[in-house]
């Protein structure tokens, strides 16, 4: 089912490419096609998913919502563990394994997240990130029908993710389908606030979501390391590498002189003495 969908997507992409006019963004060569799918997803969301998710969020008691969220979150911990280990991240992998073990048993089949408050952070690794970690470039931006923003690499990894998702192997099929539906509603409900924010903040929602998503995806592959440093501490910012040629735009209003990046002559660096000019 997944591979057939993938073939359909690629075929449609091929068709759309032939009719594609000017493209601005090098990361989005099939923008015309993507915008079309985006609009389709929006329609489905507006008329089906969002109303249901809104009712779900407003009507269902919060402990039930938390339980549902934790249940499906627990299942993803198992696959995340496998991916962490595939990426050579032993500590994170073992944390996920432990999360899964503790929550499945003491957390009553994952309904309660005991491991999180106990100090085991949740990771959300998937096969796309594993491939990215090992150097597979993300490829162009792709909007998938119903599934939303993705990249070529992550779409190719989807069948793997599907297989690695424990719920995929749940029988009987009707229980599995109901579960998948509830999972989709739960995810949408958790994104209701964020989507309202994007509604207001974005001038062009398609672009805003695309650019935000691509950055987030890269950040996920790198596990939060910034463009300049992989350190997990706060530190010096290299404006040139972060902003390129625009780095000196909007310099301090004082006579248009940019703030010097090289440290001025200082005598005692031991104490945080103010820079005198």
């Amino acid at each position: 089912m997944q591979s057939r969908r993938l073939v359909a997507v690629v075929a449609l992409a091929g068709l759309a490419l032939s009719g594609c006019a000017t493209t601005n963004n090098p990361r989005d060569p099939i923008e015309g096609f993507n915008r079309g799918v985006f609009a389709f997803n929006d329609t489905v969301d507006k008329y089906a998913l969002k109303p249901v998710a809104t009712v779900y969020k407003n009507v269902l008691p919060s402990f039930v919502q938390t339980g549902v969220h934790n249940f499906f979150g627990n299942l993803t911990d198992a696959w995340s563990a496998a991916n962490n280990l595939l990426q050579g991240k032993g500590e994170a992998g073992m944390q996920d394994v432990t999360r899964f073990a503790i929550n499945s048993t003491f957390g009553i089949a994952g309904l309660i997240d005991i491991a999180g408050p106990a100090g085991l952070p949740k990771h959300n690794e998937d096969l796309g990130q594993t491939l990215g970690h090992w150097g597979v470039p993300s490829g162009p931006y792709l909007v998938l029908p119903l599934l939303g923003p993705s990249t070529l690499r992550d779409t190719a990894a989807l069948p793997g993710d599907w297989y690695g998702d424990i719920w995929t192997h749940k029988t009987p099929v009707n229980v599995r389908n109901i579960g998948t539906g509830i999972k989709a509603i739960d995810t949408r409900a958790s994104l209701l606030d964020a989507s309202d924010l994007v509604e207001g903040a974005a001038l062009d929602r398609y672009e805003f979501i695309r650019d935000g998503f691509l950055q987030r995806r890269e950040s996920q592959v790198r596990d939060g390391g910034s463009q300049s440093a992989a350190a997990s501490s706060s530190g010096k910012l290299d404006m040139k590498s972060a902003y390129g040629d625009d780095a000196d735009v909007g310099a301090a209003p004082a006579a248009g002189a940019p703030v010097p990046l090289t440290p001025p002559a200082e005598t005692t660096p031991a104490t945080p003495a103010p820079v005198t000019k």
Binding site: N24, N25, S62, H69, G116, P121, K122, H123, N124, S190, D193, D196, L197, G200, A201, A202, L203, D204, E207, F208, D211, G212, F213, Q215, R216, E218, S219, G224, S226, S228, A231, S232, S233, S234, G235, K236, L237, D238, M239, Y243, D245, D246, V249, G250, A252, P253, V259, P260, L261, P263, P264, E266, T268, P269, A270, T271, P272, A273, P274, T276
Partner: protein, 215 residues
């Protein structure tokens, strides 16, 4: 007692050399500043009943008084506009910054109204030379639900002290995300067109009620 002697020396040196009384916050390290603002805003948001109920004027007031003074919205706008900034007239630059600033106020207010009571912020230690003028401060919001949310800030030290000019939520930088929106709008309708679009959006947001915060 050496540290105290050095401290006294530093403070008197500072007072002696600054003819004008510089704003006291200008001497704070950037991560201390962000931590302070962050704690202040979170505490106020959690303890103020009107804000908890979603009183939009109050929330906007909170953003204006506790957050915006530490944000260099002009630099933010300039970076988002990129090469088009240099092509804009000073009047256009001024208007663009103002409209973008208003949009940011509405956006931050919307985000603040979504803060839940058990959200805690954890800051990564700062490892920068005290003479650096551009830094990135990293933090994350730990809530009881789901994975931690990355929240990073980029600050620049100007004549008025450290100011935030870019924010990263969940891996996406604000400036980078708006760059696309800005440039395609400018390509379509010019800088004035972008200003107009921002102004229209702000009028729209002014009329929309903020979502009530979750329990």
């Amino acid at each position: 007692m050496k540290p105290i002697a050095t401290l006294i020396a530093t403070v008197s040196f500072a007072f002696a050399t600054h003819a004008l009384a510089a704003a006291p916050v200008g001497n704070e390290a950037p991560d201390v500043l962000v931590k302070r603002i962050s704690a202040d805003v979170l505490d106020t948001a959690k303890s103020d009943k009107a804000i908890q109920a979603g009183d939009r004027q109050k929330i906007i007031g909170l953003v204006e008084t506790k957050i915006l003074p530490f944000v260099d919205t002009e630099k933010m706008t300039a970076l988002a506009a990129g090469r088009f900034w240099r092509q804009a007239t000073p009047a256009q630059q001024k208007r663009l910054s103002e409209e973008f600033r208003t949009l940011l106020v509405y956006t931050y207010s919307g985000a603040l109204s979504q803060i839940k009571n058990d959200d805690k912020v954890e800051f990564k230690p700062l490892r920068a030379d005290p003479a650096d003028t551009d830094v990135e401060v990293r933090s994350q919001v730990n809530s009881s639900r789901g994975e931690p949310i990355t929240l990073n800030y980029r600050l620049n030290k100007g004549p008025q002290g450290w100011k935030i000019f870019d924010i990263n939520v969940l891996g996406a930088w604000l400036v980078e995300t708006y760059k696309g929106n800005f440039s395609s709008e400018i390509n379509k309708t010019g800088i004035d067109g972008l200003i107009g679009k921002l102004a229209d959006r702000n009028k729209q947001l002014a009329g929309k009620p903020l979502a009530a915060p979750a329990k």
